[in-house]
């Protein structure tokens, strides 16, 4: 069921738990699926000894991919017209992430109802790791 313009109001929001205790294996799983094998994400030895990070960290795109679900589970399948994100802070193995989406506008584009959203994903310390915006096509 897609979201309906008639019952959607600015300020409506949804929260979703994305991952608890993110594993290095899931980061590697994303590397395999996306094709991005950057050793900063997949190689502990390289990340620590060469790049100077405390350990490997998740691809920003893994967080963006996980975060999409708070929108698609809400607005319906295949309804996104636009989705953008900024990677604010690194996501580390062991992190627990929660995403929150909120309606910022309900408007019409070419006679079709759409809604604009902000989205923010936070870690277990309540720090924002990703902020973004999206636009989705609604039912009337």
């Amino acid at each position: 069921m897609a979201l309906q313009a008639a019952t959607t109001t600015v300020g409506d929001n949804r929260e979703m738990s994305l991952v608890e205790d993110l594993t290095r294996t899931q980061i590697v799983q994303y590397a395999g699926a996306s094709g991005d094998f950057n050793p900063l994400h997949t190689d502990e030895v390289y990340a620590k000894q060469v790049a100077g990070y405390p350990t490997v960290f998740a691809h920003g795109m893994l967080t963006m991919g996980m975060t999409a679900r708070v929108l698609t589970d809400w607005v319906g399948d295949g309804r996104l017209l636009r989705y953008g994100a900024r990677f604010i802070k690194q996501v580390w193995p062991g992190d627990t992430l929660t995403a929150r989406a909120e309606v910022t506008a309900v408007r019409e584009v070419d006679g079709q109802p759409v809604a604009d959203f902000t989205v923010v994903t936070r870690n277990q310390a309540d720090e924002a790791v990703l902020t973004g915006t999206a636009t989705a096509r609604l039912d009337p």
């Binding site: 679900r69 636009r82 990677f87």
Partner: protein
């Protein structure tokens, strides 16, 4: 950078949906997907990123017969002389990170689509961060189908840092 042929496959979509932890059956169960509004399997919103698999020159994938900058016998396979030379990697002197990503969807991506993408450079700007200079560069990628119709437009911003950073300052 151009990806001449990016065949969108059902199995690749399944693996991608698993990797991002999205159990929605519209990405993995053709029978279920056929009963939904979209009428069949579709790709998740960020799946298009995996076009990198079909870029022959993609620098963040080990390639047969070429030195890889990740660890093997030593912490990096990249010799001191070439350190920092290729994009996307990291050294104590600098790290390439993904700062921002945006997609505009013109139509749904489905298994069976064969896409072609072309990337062009966008804006470039600099910022002074706490751990040194940050250089941002934007690229725009257009994904088109076999009829030449626009499917997805992607905008990506990368940042090169002088030292390892916590992302707050970008």
């Amino acid at each position: 950078m151009t990806v001449e042929r990016f065949p969108v496959e059902e199995g690749a979509i399944l693996l991608f949906a698993r990797a991002v932890g999205d159990p929605n059956l519209v990405y993995s169960d053709a029978g279920y997907a056929a009963t939904t509004e979209v009428g069949g399997l579709i790709a998740p919103p960020t799946f298009i990123q995996s076009s990198a698999q079909f870029d022959p020159d993609y620098p963040l994938r080990p390639k047969l017969g070429q030195a890889w900058f990740g660890s093997g016998r030593t912490p990096t396979g990249r010799s001191a002389g070439t350190e920092g030379a290729s994009g996307g990697g990291g050294t104590k002197r600098g790290t390439g990170l993904h700062a921002e990503q945006e997609y505009e969807y013109h139509r749904l991506v489905r298994p069976g689509d064969v896409l072609r993408s072309e990337t062009r450079p966008g804006k470039r700007w600099e910022k002074q961060g706490r751990s040194g200079k940050l250089v941002f560069s934007e690229s725009i990628t257009e994904y088109r189908d076999e009829k030449g119709e626009l499917v997805v437009t992607a905008r990506s911003v990368g940042v090169i840092t002088e030292a390892p950073v916590s992302r707050e300052e970008s």
